[in-house]
Amino acid sequence: MAVHIPYIDKPNPVTGVTNAKLGIWLFLASEVMLFGALFSALITLRLGVNDWPHGYEVLNVPLATLNTVVLIFSSVTVVMAWAALKMNNLKQFKTYMSLTLLMSFIFLIVKAIEYGSKFSHGISPATSNFYAIYFVITGLHGLHIIGGIIVNAYLLGPGSKMWSVEPERFTGRIECAGLYWHFVDLVWIFLFPILYLL
């Protein structure tokens, strides 16, 4: 459409942020409440029973540790991708964003191995509430990873055409995608010890 909306590449002088920056933080605030509710459910369920297993007894801690390192590394690569654009280096952006995507896929593959191992032993959400909350929370987190993959892949691929016409706006998009990705990492930083190490 032909309407010209201000503050999509330059920040609003009063608030100091672009529309997308404010928008993504508002969205992340709602995501905090979403995962917060699930953590609240986890605590509720745990307090209610006597036979809650220790995560390290029934889940694969080494694989999950690997996933933690992979995800943290992907957080670094996605912010480096943004920094590359700030330094006008499209090629470096593409390298770092590709690395981020690679890490995301590794995370999902490891998750698939974990899930597969559980299913092959006949363990499902119906087995007990420990497994139920494990599958639901990590499952929802996994869906968020997939969402991030779709966005990042688009920005690496067809979306990167915007760099040649509106570089500031494109850099802003990468920053916002990065903020979402860091949030996904943040959730895992709490999920990992709470589910696997306690």
Binding site: A2, I5, N19, G23, A29, S30, A37, A41, T44, A126
Partner: protein, 567 residues
């Protein structure tokens, strides 16, 4: 401009123009409101004449033609769900919010037009899914709009479809709230600082924050309930659950109260989502038709913000009867009493605006002034419910139904209908028929009080809600004659909407054209745009010079926000 060469489907169906999207929300929501009303008409027939065959369509609904308990429960659950999530919120937030907020802050559109379009279509798909649930085996969801487990988990009907639909509706809402907040804060016109926002904008932004932060816990809870139903988990199923004499096959270890807490964590702020846009609309109509500035603008703003915040910490007053201890219930009783303060302040500032005013009783003003006592009754009847001692007697009775319907039906819906009459010239360039409007108002106002007022008496006598035949109990049989009154009034109320619907759809083509862009001689920014506004709203950027309600009651001089001159 390329806009004129756009094909019909892009200009009107998949439009990113907030005005088109606002109208789409309005039309869709109107349909759902009428459908939800129709569901209640079926229930009111049964309540007035228990066991009687439903006229015309009875045989199509059940084998005998009379209401069954299962159908009654489904109608009740779907009436509540459809009215709240498909009707009132999309009307108040999706229609009024979308159409007016960009105009009232002086912006050319919402901050994220494509996101705006998506939020409408996600709502639409959610609505289709919800409606499709009526056709599923086992019938539509029938565990109340509150979907309490274990019943909702074990029931053999389209509860799963209800949950999936809710995920769509919540997503639509989240996208919309981000848009509203960013638009109002980032895109306001030059000179339009926060304390010059119309109250309607304050109300919509606060509402958007409520939706943004309160809906996710319900989304989480819906996912958990979906897991219980589809994957066999036991988030909400306690150990040792017995259904129809047999042990329910699940691992157990869950708790139904977890659902209640997560549900009400949303559902309480949700009721303020229902009322706040209406309060904003009433402020706009009252100031323009009383020709007076709002009494206590800053007080109103702070009350709305305080109300919004408090709405997050009162939720367990819906759960006083779940066995909670005195410490917890005292906390929620206290916060509930405190939240009544900003509510009263809001009502009082509007009331005081009328004092010494030069009131023009146009049709919108009739609805806006009626809102005040109606909302007052709704609010006052909330007090015995918020006090734990009296709630023991009144919880789950018709008193509750009377209370919340007063705030939503003659409260919010009256305000929004007034808003339709008020802004109709803005979005169509024509006025709705005044006579039809007056018939609509007076018939609705009388009928609606006869529908809901008796509920307080019935509830005080202990008549329970969600019963398809109240005569099975002596105390219910004693008040049965009231049911006939209420059902008759409900039918009258239904017919009273006909002039409104007819008026709304015909005035578009045959209504009296307005002589200028600002037929009410109002002061807020939307009246600076032409009626209807062009695609970009303000071809020349609009600038704000003063407070939103600069009417002078003594001299009669009106200084719109957007007019530079003092004279």
């Amino acid at each position: 401009m390329a806009h004129h060469e756009m094909p019909f489907w892009k200009k009107y169906i998949f439009s990113t123009d907030h005005k088109v999207i606002g109208l789409q929300y309005g039309i869709t929501a109107t349909f759902f409101l009428l459908f939800g009303f129709f569901l209640m008409i079926l229930m009111r027939w049964q309540l007035a004449y228990p066991g009687a065959e439903i006229p015309l369509i009875g045989k199509a609904l059940t084998e005998t033609g009379a209401m069954t308990p299962e159908l009654y429960n489904a109608l009740g659950a779907m009436h509540g769900t459809i009215m709240i999530f498909l009707g009132v919120v999309p009307m108040g937030v999706g229609a009024f919010g979308n159409y007016l907020v960009p105009l009232q802050v002086g912006a050319c559109d919402m901050a994220f037009p494509k996101l705006n379009m998506m939020s409408y279509w996600v709502y639409f798909v959610g609505g289709v899914i919800m409606m499709a649930s009526f056709l599923m085996p086992g019938g539509a969801a029938a565990s109340g709009w509150t979907s309490y487990p274990p019943l909702s988990v074990i029931s053999n009907n389209a509860q799963t479809v209800w949950l999936i639909s809710m995920v769509f509706l919540i997503t639509s809402s989240l996208l919309g709230s981000v848009n509203t907040i960013v638009t109002a804060i980032q895109l306001k016109a030059k000179g339009q600082n926060f304390m010059r926002w119309p109250i309607h904008v304050w109300a919509q932004v606060t509402t958007a924050f409520l939706l943004l932060l309160a809906f996710p816990p319900l989304e989480a809870a819906a996912v958990l309930q979906l897991a219980d139903r589809v994957f066999g988990s036991s988030f909400f199923l306690p150990s040792g659950l017995v259904v129809s004499g047999e042990k329910w096959a699940a691992a157990g270890g869950g708790n139904p109260l977890l659902w209640q807490h997560l549900f009400w964590f949303l559902a309480h702020p949700e009721v303020y989502v229902l009322i706040l846009p209406a309060v904003g609309v009433v402020c706009e109509i009252v100031t323009a038709n009383a020709r007076k500035p709002l009494y206590g603008y800053k007080t109103m703003v702070y009350s709305i913000l305080f109300l919004g915040f408090m709405s997050f910490i009162v939720w367990a007053h819906h759960m006083f009867m779940t066995g909670m201890g005195v410490t917890l219930s005292s906390f929620f009783q206290a916060t509930t009493m405190i939240i009544s303060i900003p509510s009263v302040i809001i009502l009082t500032t509007i009331l005081l605006t009328l004092w010494g005013a030069s009131i023009r009783f146009s049709v919108p003003m009739l609805f806006a002034t009626a809102f005040l006592p109606m909302f007052a009754i709704g609010g006052l009847t909330g007090l015995p419910l918020g006090l734990t001692a009296s709630d023991i007697h009144l919880h789950d009775t018709y008193y509750v139904i009377g209370h919340f319907h007063y705030v939503v039906a003659p409260g919010t819906l009256f305000a929004l209908m007034g808003g339709v009459y008020y802004w109709y010239p803005k979005f169509s360039g024509r006025k709705m028929n005044e006579t039809l409007g007056k018939i609509h108002f007076w018939t609705s106002f009388v009928a609606i009080n006869f529908v809901f007022m008796p509920m307080f008496f019935m509830g005080s006598k202990g008549v329970s809600r969600r019963m398809y035949d109240q005569t099975v109990y002596t105390h219910g049989a004693a008040t049965q004659s009231w049911n006939v009154v209420m059902s008759t009034a409900a039918f009258v109320l239904l017919f009273a909407q006909i002039p409104f619907i007819y008026n709304m759809f015909t005035a578009w083509k045959t209504g009296k054209k307005v002589e200028n862009d600002n037929p009410w001689d109002a002061t807020t920014l939307e009246w600076a745009a032409s009626s209807p506004p062009p695609h970009e709203n303000f071809p020349t950027p609009v600038e704000v010079y003063r407070d939103p309600y600069s009417y002078s009651p003594t001299t009669g001089k009106v200084l719109p926000q957007f007019a530079p001159q003092e004279g």
